[in-house]
Symmetry: C2
Subunit: 281 residues, 2 copies
């Protein structure tokens, strides 16, 4: 399951929605705040800006020096929160050592939280209602549906329980009527669980962690890992040993990673549509 | 595993905390809004008022007639939200037909949400931070810990995925390092899952739903069901057939249900402590 066809399809729809907003006299604007000079963050931010550009979304990059204080980061976010021209705000994480990611995020108003990291937003996965959802798990669900993977009644096993991937992915799969198991570093006998999965989502952060002996024949594997190794980018799944057993697998690179930025664009457009009083598609 | 010893222990601690607040010149106050004349709601509200009274918490009952409009319910909640003497607000659900539970709940400020039903609060189960959590799953966790049930690395299976029990219970068990599976009405081959559970939480709402053939020897069973039957209150678990196999089981009545009101008291006291700037124990 490749990411590119999904992104292509999404982009076409997204362009139209951005144009529809512009026809109402309204641009869409994402503000990205980057602090310090982490090279990976720089690449991520560039990718996001490029995606905005392709869709006709205005992107504002605010680059603060690594020496900035917590108060200055928060003041910057407060200003963007108050700026009526800004639809979505993204704080590129992690912040440099000494700054508090979580405290800073509370300075992004929930209605402009492009990443869906605030509890008001991701909390809707528990109690319902309208909220912006984290991009990577949204991308996972989009891909599974795009490739026609049946979800209802299937057993989905998620390895990893982070706030931005594992937990929201599990809740979204639950929302699609999967039976869902969440495994993690403290799971006893991981194989026992992963071998039962119809759908396996690996969000571990360890290259080649999931091997062929851990999966059953015919399973669908979503590899969320993006691990830098001497041999280049590798996923959490050992594609070689798993290859013959899986019915579908998302490659790394070129899989679900591609969807994350596309889903960020989706979030920003939805935020703009909500602010404009347009209901989302 | 009986609920009463837990409630007794909690009550003693809670009384002290209420007194500590009073020593600072500050009462604790829970406002309960009941709409219409549902007899079950009346019983629940009475239980909550009695619990308040035992702890020295002021309880204000606002009883609105069933003929009230949505706007009137919301106005009532707005007023309580603005009242500096009120620490916690609870809207007894379900509202009479024609009124919108969810829309009404948004009129309870997150900082006074005694039930932990708002996404800002239960969302902290996904993304961390400080928030009021739903009472029944808090009670489940309290009981398991009180009775010394080991959680780390154990496989917990939750049957049911409601916003107020199943989903938050699953996330709390995950937070205790359980491997967690959530099953529901769309789960294929439920038995396959429940038979693997070290800890089984039944929140289905069907009397006697979980039978002996569905559980493994030595499992710990938490029965969250409170079902009215011609034979009286019954849980979701068929205690007779399960009895010999379970290492521990919570009875109905007298089990986890008892904890729900005690955890509501815990929530209200925490809300008052936060508003007073006292950190919670």
């Amino acid at each position: 399951m490749y990411g590119a066809p999904c992104v292509e399809k999404l982009s076409a729809e997204q362009k139209e929605r951005v144009e529809a907003l512009r026809a109402r006299g309204r641009g869409v604007c994402l503000a990205v705040v980057r602090v310090g000079d982490d090279p990976a963050s720089e690449v991520y931010v560039r990718n996001k800006k490029n995606a905005c550009q392709r869709l006709g979304i205005e992107s504002r990059e605010i680059h603060l020096p690594g020496s900035v204080s917590q108060a200055e980061v928060e003041e910057c976010l407060d200003k963007l929160g108050a700026d009526p021209d800004v639809d979505g705000i993204l704080l590129q994480l992690p912040l440099p050592r000494g700054l508090d990611d979580k405290a800073a995020l509370t300075h992004i108003p929930a209605a402009k939280d492009a990443d869906g990291f605030r509890s008001e937003n991701c909390g809707t996965l528990i109690c319902g209602g309208e909220g912006t959802l984290p991009c990577t798990p949204r991308g996972i669900l989009y891909m599974l549906k795009h490739y026609g993977v049946a979800l209802e009644g299937k057993h989905a096993v998620v390895i990893g329980r982070s706030a931005i991937v594992g937990k929201p992915a599990a809740l979204m799969l639950l929302g699609e009527n999967c039976t869902v198991t969440v495994c993690h570093s403290k799971t006893a006998d991981l194989k026992e669980h992963t071998r039962r999965a119809d759908i396996l989502v690996a969000a571990v952060g360890k290259a080649g962690f999931v091997t062929g002996d851990m999966v059953k024949d015919g399973c669908v594997i979503v590899d969320v890992g993006i691990n830098r190794t001497p041999e280049g980018l590798r996923g959490d799944v050992d594609a070689v040993s798993v290859g013959d057993k899986a019915a579908f697998i998302t490659p790394v690179p070129g899989g679900v990673g591609k969807l994350t930025v596309a889903m960020l664009m989706e979030n920003v457009i939805e935020l703009a549509e909500r602010r404009t009083g347009l209901t989302e598609a």
